[in-house]
Symmetry: C2
Subunit: 183 residues, 2 copies
DNA sequence: GTCTATAGATAGATAGAC
DNA sequence: GTCTATCTATCTATAGAC
């Protein structure tokens, strides 16, 4: 860990980039090498197989998620609002690797599916802790998931029609919290 | 239209099935032919290219969505509850082809992205009509989108942890409607 | 209308030079 | 540590028999 080779980092970023923008079908090792500016052989020195490339995305995601959970726990705006807000920031540091893992999972990668499961479990526990109601936590988590799905679609409907409504959506999140306590 | 060849229908079903369960990477024409019980040549008689196979999924989706919108508009439980409830029924008639289109869109298929856009626009308008508040419609749509994403993940977290909570989630949807009118 | 055989392209992965 | 060259498998698509 500590300070990985620069080329290795560039290859990983390129692979994540391709997964997010073009999907698993286009994220080949050849295309990844080209985008990273290295040859296929150069890529294979750092990642011996496509599976190890996928695992690197998952490992990177685990690092990022731990930091994300810490920020979420301490967010002044509240954990739920933080969660929804960051779910909609497509180009953020956190989101790209998360979308990449999601794409891998949707393509049947078992390690990615298992990792996503632990991430969702931790988000759910964090939201329940802060919202005090499992049903509301469930709902907020689905809203975030929906935002991810929308935002991860290049040229999709959300980016053209709902971008301006994010502020209004965020204002409603604290209202949801009240809804939970009333019942 | 009217009554398409049985083999053609079987091939289309097989392709949708593979897209949903194994993802775009595994949904090859060869695998599709095998699952449909025909040869590669037999498949290519009905669908001259992979693109035309994808287009057939989109066309089928358009048929199904029109019926879905009609049922949504007339649902006794309310359009929003109907929308969320059917978003969570993975094995339903409506959902499989929708998830398949989503997978195609996430792999960069332009026709699928455009179709998804029109579907989401119509759902949004229907929800706004019934909820009377665009912000709440927005939120409900994201909840449904989140449910789709969760449910479409074979072996994913939702199917193990939230299935029993669907009833509670559905109970909260009418509460959201009140939330909209209060503000 | 469905099949076999096969062409042509591209994927993932190996070997070895530098 | 990065490259070129190459192997093998698999994919999409075509040609033509039945």
């Amino acid at each position: 860990m500590a300070r990985p080779a620069l080329a290795r980092r560039k290859v990983l970023e390129a692979y994540i980039d391709l997964l997010c923008t073009d999907g698993v079908g286009s994220a080949t090792m050849e295309a990844t090498a080209a985008r990273a500016g290295v040859s296929k052989g150069g890529l294979l020195y750092h990642f011996a197989s496509k599976e190890s490339l996928a695992q690197a995305v998952i490992d990177f995601s685990e690092e990022v998620i731990q930091e994300d959970l810490r920020l979420m726990d301490e967010a002044p705006e509240g954990a739920a609002t933080y969660y929804v807000r960051t779910s909609a920031t497509v180009n953020g540091e956190f989101d790209r690797q998360f979308i990449a893992v999601q794409r891998l999972a949707q393509d049947g990668n078992e390690a990615a599916i298992a990792h996503l499961g632990t991430v969702q479990q931790r988000w759910y526990e964090m939201l329940t802790k802060h919202l005090g109601d499992e049903r509301i936590a469930n709902m907020v988590m689905l809203i975030g998931e929906g935002l991810y799905t929308h935002c991860a679609m290049p040229g999709g409907w959300y980016q053209k029609n709902l971008e301006g409504q994010l502020g209004e959506l965020l204002e409603l999140i604290p209202e949801l919290k009240k809804l939970g306590r009333d019942n």
